[in-house]
Symmetry: D2
Subunit: 147 residues, 4 copies
Amino acid sequence: MATEAETGDGRAPDHIEPLRVRFSDTDAGGIVHHSNFFRWLEEARLGLLRGIGVSYWTIADSGIHFPVTACSAEFRRSLRSEDQIEIALWLVGRSRARLEFRYEVRLDGSVVATAKTTHALVNDSGRPIRLERDSNLWNRLGELEGD
Amino acid sequence: MATEAETGDGRAPDHIEPLRVRFSDTDAGGIVHHSNFFRWLEEARLGLLRGIGVSYWTIADSGIHFPVTACSAEFRRSLRSEDQIEIALWLVGRSRARLEFRYEVRLDGSVVATAKTTHALVNDSGRPIRLERDSNLWNRLGELEGD
Amino acid sequence: MATEAETGDGRAPDHIEPLRVRFSDTDAGGIVHHSNFFRWLEEARLGLLRGIGVSYWTIADSGIHFPVTACSAEFRRSLRSEDQIEIALWLVGRSRARLEFRYEVRLDGSVVATAKTTHALVNDSGRPIRLERDSNLWNRLGELEGD
Amino acid sequence: MATEAETGDGRAPDHIEPLRVRFSDTDAGGIVHHSNFFRWLEEARLGLLRGIGVSYWTIADSGIHFPVTACSAEFRRSLRSEDQIEIALWLVGRSRARLEFRYEVRLDGSVVATAKTTHALVNDSGRPIRLERDSNLWNRLGELEGD
């Protein structure tokens, strides 16, 4: 079971993204394909960015990208089509070259999966970059951590 | 049943792409999700281009794109994970502004689905363009039709 | 442009499903992969069923399935990640052995794609069946048509 | 960088699955969506099973399933549509209740990603089960480990 430290030191999630499981998220096992959890985590990250007023497209158009360099998940329960879930996420690591998030996927208040993603910061050519210390994005993300 | 006219006037396919159905192509109904047939058709188009010596990336890098503007399919039989299928395709329409393909998805020699896609030609900004009459791509595609 | 006849004889949609485009719905062309439109149409059908009080799972558990036997779409505009769209759908054909739906995918009030799907009715083994004339599902669907 | 211990103690892979990246595996970032690596790993597991003569369907039809209970991946390089890759995998943990695999995704001989999946054994109802000690599957998997 994920400890508080693993999911953000007990602080409230930085964002909660509601999401309905699509039928096409399932596989012939009758349940959601595990790969699709990672697609939902991404939607939660985009929702977080919208929530702090910095849209994905603004960031991308300014030449900043956050590819996933590592990810992991543990699945406690399976999910089915039409399940109405919530993705809680926490920014748990922030440097000028790297971001780290933790997640809980919840159904009816109970945690069905926990996950973690690590992101590099790269430019349009895929080369590592560092966030400007006074950029809007850096400051907004900093406010999350300061919660 | 598709007539010869529907699938290329009886001439041999311009390309046959072998493909194994992925488990993640299936859904909770236990069979392949119908949307994935369109993903396979695309692989067959890429295979056709490779076969005539003009790779997708060369074309895309030269600023030419072929978005799907219309598509349709009829499904006769369902498919399962690991089925080893073939996609036969024919270029059935070619103008400087538009391409049209027809397809048969085959399992063990019998046709499980037929399909059709129509493509516009656009530049990097998504604006309609016309293929140059003497371009390599135009000429190579012309050779297919001349079969 | 789709005429009224094509999209339900001018009558109001039987259901409108709101949906946010996922980043994972896009492809390297920078826009939504055309196959994913068919996944959204399915969500709209599930939403319609929820709306008339007959959930997909109730129907599936009673041994009734609606596989797609034919589908088609025309794309007028491309869509991007995070676009907040609506899928309007109409039940345009209903017999005891077959259902037919038409759709409009809308962004900011304008139609970006139109589509159509045809469905057979089959049992758990995939064999054709006929809906009972007095079944709840048959009656509920009938109310839609009677609009 | 993955050590030998991490990828199977230096022994040759138990299976190598060749695979071509699909265009629909990519996203608007221009590269493969990270979630799709997990779909490829699954194809490699199915390939391994085919290779030792126990097909997925035979196992599933006998009421044995291997849902992923945990998974992780590290990405070193991005991949593009049509890249011809190889998935090397090793069975690194086997008990009657649990299987564990490690993977290398390779392009042109270099490792672009490493990954790990853990699987529970469950019956058709999703309840934990234990593999019979003398079952064909148990013995075949044992031969891999004995390499």
